[in-house]
Symmetry: C2
Subunit: 423 residues, 2 copies
């Protein structure tokens, strides 16, 4: 699939530039030995990524604006815009997990720039101002909660609270934001979008498994994150009878296996993941005194997500009592499921059909900035397939032609929403 032949004044996608920019941005923060890249929010590597994206925005003569939480925007104004017009916003994020792929987030930002480029190259102004955002700290690796920049933008977390967040490395987010030079002056949310469209890789296996080209994302799972700490009793591995143990590591393991069972019992709607797990003192012949772990629960239905949380809490109480340990939990993020704007979802589906791409409606398994912006504006998402469903991994991959198809759908949606589609 390639885009249609060039005509003067025709708004069309420059797929080559999009692919080159994805590659170039993906080289920033490269992990030398294992492949992949690590561009965690507000690190030097992520600053370098921001600098490159801002440079590309300026090349397109976009107005570059940074808000107080570090969200980076490029604005292409309509002729009618006196500075008060609500823009059509596109965007995503450019921060990454540890040892990540090159597409997660970056694709949505760079495809947004590709839409702006289509206007610039055709010499046409958008009929409504368009705006491309790269939101701060979507991944939540160093600072929690995740999707922080868009959450603050949508008014779900105060700027001050976000700036005061202390990271896993003991740093304060606001200090790091200043250090890398991205503490802007725009008040987050000051520019309320007219609507918001985010293009993203699926990060799951469904589209590839079904041989479908475009995912029309109509809703998004709820997410519940908890930090669990277990306090048991360190003791000698060789002399402590099993029934007298207060083994924090065993309780951590029992939690992991319980959550697997809980996910299986849900018939596939609830997902449960323990991503972080450590024990202390971490010595071969000492029963762990302490264990800490994270729990990530997701479900597209709020009632089922609440049920999973309740069942988990009951299990913690039971297992703590049985083993004679103390379990404490702290909620680090909680987002209800989101239903995207029906009209905008219809537009995405119509564009995919118009361009002749096979498509299906689907639920987003991952959290995205779109779910935050959906609090203040109609929002929707477009997915393209992820090979093997793999993401958060250097092997994250989508074929070039599929990446271009997704960006063509984004451009088509924008053109139709702005009434600038050309027959």
């Amino acid at each position: 699939m390639s885009h249609t032949a060039t005509k003067a004044q025709r708004l069309q996608l420059d797929g080559g530039t999009l692919l080159r920019q994805l590659k170039e941005l993906g080289e920033i923060g490269a992990d030398s030995e294992v492949g992949g890249r690590t561009r965690i929010a507000l690190t030097d590597a992520e600053k370098a990524g921001r600098d490159l994206v801002a440079h590309w925005m300026r090349e397109l003569e976009l107005e570059v604006v940074i808000d107080r939480i570090g969200n980076l925007f490029g604005i292409l104004r309509s002729e009618a815009d006196d500075g008060t017009q609500a823009p059509l916003m596109m965007g995503s994020h450019i921060d990454s997990v540890t040892n990540a792929g090159a597409l997660d987030g970056c694709y949505g930002v760079l495809a947004g720039l590709a839409v702006a480029r289509a206007y610039r190259e055709a010499g046409i102004a958008p009929s409504r101002t368009i705006m491309v955002g790269a939101f701060t700290n979507e991944e939540g690796i160093r600072y929690q909660p995740d999707m922080m920049g868009s959450l603050v933008y949508a008014g779900g977390l105060s700027v001050q609270e976000a700036l005061d967040t202390v990271g896993t490395d003991g740093t304060r987010l606001g200090d790091e934001l200043t250090r890398i030079g991205y503490a802007g002056t725009l008040e987050p949310g000051a520019i309320v979008p007219h609507e918001y469209v985010e293009l993203h890789i699926e990060q799951g296996p469904i589209l590839e498994a079904e041989g479908i080209q475009i995912g029309v994302v109509e809703n998004l799972q709820g997410i519940s994150w908890q930090q669990v700490s277990i306090q048991g009793n360190a003791n000698h591995a060789g002399t402590t009878p099993t029934h007298l143990r207060h083994d924090a590591g065993f309780v951590a393991a029992a939690i992991v296996t319980f959550l697997r069972q809980l996910a299986q019992d849900s018939g596939g709607t609830t997902l449960a993941t323990v991503g972080c797990l450590s024990v202390q003192p971490n010595v071969i012949n000492v029963i762990p005194r302490r264990a800490t772990l994270t729990v990530d629960l997701r479900d597209p239905d709020e009632q089922r997500l609440k049920l999973a949380e309740r069942r988990f809490a009951e299990f913690l109480e039971t297992v703590a009592q049985q083993e004679g340990v103390t379990v404490t939990t702290e909620r680090s993020a909680r987002f209800e499921p989101v239903v995207f704007d029906a009209g905008l979802v219809d537009s995405v589906e119509a564009s995919a059909n118009r361009l002749g791409f096979t498509n299906r409606r689907m639920t987003s398994g991952a959290g995205h900035d779109a779910q935050m912006i959906a609090r203040i504006a109609p929002a929707a998402m477009i997915f393209v397939p992820s090979q093997g469903g793999i993401s958060h991994n250097p092997r994250e991959h989508t074929d070039d032609d599929q990446l271009i198809m997704g960006a063509e759908v984004l451009l088509d949606v924008v053109l139709h929403r702005l009434g600038q589609a050309q027959a």
Copy 2:
């Protein structure tokens, strides 16, 4: 319980000095914030402990000898010893786990010195040379296997292989031994003991629970240590259906819960502990790609220990296949159960009875240097109660009067074995 009134020329225990030395040695490597001490083999802190023990040996005018693996000995010769007499050896170790108590190991070494002191203060020479050993790296925290110094001494591991061991911190044992100045010249095992008695805290709950003062240790559990590595597939927590996961962390957890079941099924004879456990990349919303853990299996019966190892190996195969991960194991230590010398065990029991201390025969749950020396000489052990069964923990505690009782039994055993008991 205090010792009997002083008489000239009477061989008797100086309990006060023993307690003072335990306290003083226990202050070396103190963990400032959490209490306890960390004196891991061949670190600067352990060198300081060695220096202090060697100083105390010289105060007693013992011959101080260090062998090529760093075992530290103090020798008090009989008048008949022309340098070839096989000595009665006492001893244990002074290296510790991380954040340890003050008694594990140190008690046996310093009680050995207390026996030598009884001879010195009475002005009597032993009828057979006595020798007190502090064996290198009993705990195996930094370098594996544990009980390394006594294993080498007994010929179970070549000196060169032991010196070439690479630690968890990447250091070579032989280099560290030289660095701290304890690479001696005596060939390990060159002095074969006539017999060996080791006094130790129980590190388990049995004596305290039964209100018994002295444990007469007649055998010792077999120990099997394995390092387990699991290679799965990192993927996004929100988009990967449960049935498509290859979750290394889940497999690690399933291993921990399986081992608990295995221990419970054994009716209490098999002990199973997972002391070390970690996952990678250790990120909240990423399914663990890799997990590593240690497995410590123990049983007093070799056949049952082998059965446990076999059942575990079968489980690994099953769970690896079910989850679609690769599991590799490496054996880091394997010691068969040890039955101590019947005559020497009888002597320990007779001494406890003679002194009027309640006692019981028992199995050692922990590994001890005695099990290695048992390969080359008749050996036995004496236990005193551990409060709450707690060890490898700053809260490790035995009451002072019980510590003195144990040392009195050791002295009495030595006096009777040497035919120097005074009515």
